[in-house]
């Protein structure tokens, strides 16, 4: 039972990272109607920025802050130069264009940082586990990820629900033309939203770096999961992204841990070990397909268009 609880925490932690990515993606998609495949590249850039700043400053926290600023700037620059021409275009053109951006970014990173990848070390205080319940140990850093992301989610909520900018964001998600008609500087709004998305993606990249990886192409795998999350949650809905991210994180982690054991009862060791993670990955996509068939607007639709 305690083991199950620990795995749930792992699932939630994965969900938190997915939420950070999905939030930016769903904002951009919901407000600007833009399919941005290069979102994973912004996640990758955040991680690389942090690794470099950590080497330069020697401090993890400082590296994090600097990386967030760098991600924001990179996102806004990207929006102005390459993303703006794609607004209002066929989704297919956007897919093609941002696919090209993925290729470009992977190569740029290879050019600037080299092909081997980077590491980001944690401060030594974070290298241990705490006992959060009797018998349940959990690495401190993963708790930090969960708490930090909850804080970000809270900030996002305040931003979207309580500020003028957030009101424009919500309005834009449900009725783009109206917002334009109100005389708001749409261009600036879009740039800010895209920059916000880039910062969230970069934040996710930095947070996962010490436990996972900083390498070329790291954005592609998680990008697909992020799209799955926003489809399940509902395009344009941050609340939906949050719930869906936790669901997907739990399915993936619990599936990986318990499905193999279940399959051991029927299959050979090797087959069970191979099939288990496979099935749990498949189940996420089956969930998305089911949502698309039965409730295509997602769990928490942003609004009707």
């Amino acid at each position: 039972m305690l083991y199950f609880f620990e795995q749930c925490l792992n699932g939630i932690q994965l969900g938190m990272l997915l939420f950070l990515l999905a939030a930016g993606l769903t904002l951009v998609f919901g407000i600007m109607d833009l399919v941005n495949l290069a979102h994973g590249s912004l996640y990758m850039l955040g991680a690389y920025f942090a690794a470099t700043f950590a080497t330069l400053t020697g401090s993890f926290t400082l590296a994090l802050i600097l990386a967030l600023v760098a991600s924001l700037i990179a996102g806004m620059v990207l929006e102005v130069i390459a993303i703006r021409p794609l607004y209002g275009r066929d989704h297919l053109d956007q897919v093609l264009g941002t696919f090209g951006l993925i290729l470009l970014f992977n190569e740029l990173v290879r050019l600037i940082w080299g092909p081997e990848g980077r590491t980001l070390s944690l401060p030594p205080e974070m290298l241990t586990a705490v006992q959060i319940l009797p018998g349940v140990h959990y690495p401190i850093y993963r708790l930090v990820i969960i708490l930090a992301t909850l804080a970000v989610a809270g900030l996002l909520y305040v931003l979207v629900m309580r500020t003028r900018l957030g009101m424009l964001v919500r309005a834009g998600a449900s009725n783009r033309e109206m917002v334009g008609a109100l005389g708001i500087n749409i261009k600036l709004l879009y740039t800010l939203v895209f920059g916000l998305g880039a910062t969230l993606a970069g934040f996710a990249g930095v947070m996962q770096a010490p436990i996972l990886t900083v390498q070329i192409g790291m954005g592609e795998n998680i990008l697909i999961l992020a799209f799955v999350v926003i489809i399940i949650g509902g395009i344009g809905s941050i609340r939906g992204a949050f719930v869906a991210a936790i669901i997907v994180g739990l399915i993936d982690t619990l599936g990986r841990s318990f499905l193999s054991d279940l399959l051991h009862l029927f299959l050979s060791n090797n087959a069970a070990q191979t099939l288990g993670p496979s099935l749990s990955s498949m189940s996420i996509y089956m969930l998305m397909a089911a949502i698309l068939v039965f409730r295509p607007e997602g769990l928490f639709p942003a609004a009707s268009r």
């Binding site: 297919l92 397909a289 698309l292």
Partner: protein, 327 residues
Amino acid sequence: MTASLDPPLNAAPAAVLTARTVFTAGLLAILALVPVYALATGETFGVALFTRTIILAIGAVSLNLIMGYGGMVSFGHAAYLGIGGYAVGILAKEGIGSGFAQWPVAVAASALYALVVGALSLRTRGVYFIMITLAFAQMIYYVAIGLDRYGGDDGLTIYKRSDFGGLINLNNKVVFYYLCFAILLASIFLISRLVNSRFGLALRGTRSNERRMRAIGFPTFRYKLLAFVISGALCGLAGALLANHTSFISPAIIHWTRSGDLIVMVVLGGLGSLFGPVIGAVIFLLLQEGLSRVTEYPDLILGPILLLVAIYVHGGIGGLLEGRRRG
């Protein structure tokens, strides 16, 4: 989708001597002569490179049927390459080496999966359709990884090419090349017959305005599903060819970025044109291969090219040749 910008329906391509048709004819001539050049110079690597190009062009042709003419953007077509390839690989491993068994299974299995995917997905539109086709491809991807007996992630070596008895020897590189080329031409012929038939007209009408077509009385869902199944089956055949060509099949061919490659080929060549997918495939693969020999950082050029094509050129490279610009 914007209004169709295809050449006039009844004009046979050869009769209109535009820059586009000259380029296409030239390209086909070059493709036909690659093995001759190779035999003359003893340089056989070109044959391998262009065989792969032709096979992927067949995949692009199949995708173009539903994407270009039908307006259905499938982000999961690499799944059919995988199904076709694994049909050959699995049967070969289980001792069934005859092409007469392997290839029909490849096509049938792909058609069946396309039927299932289409039946569930074609109710959706736009980006939702893109995502659900992606989801179904990912499922096949993870099934392939889970196939422990057939190598899983490590892949499966195929020791012998499909055996067709005395009919044709696939082990001969040149023979295999011309077989693929013939299948490519046959596919294009098939597509041209399809899109110029009543079925094809209805399909293209559905792409422009589905509601109107349904109001007239066309069973649009059935038409789209049929096109989807044909497209999947043809791509499955390409998969069988690919497995024969590389003597190896692995889940990597089903990765979603491979589906992305196919979309890029179709768009580069010009949506909804007969030979567009071939042009797109040739340019895309030659660019990849050529750039990597010329520079250490090929994607620094390829990436922006794709972006610029997406932004500025309507109708892909084919459109570029016809002088179209973004209006």
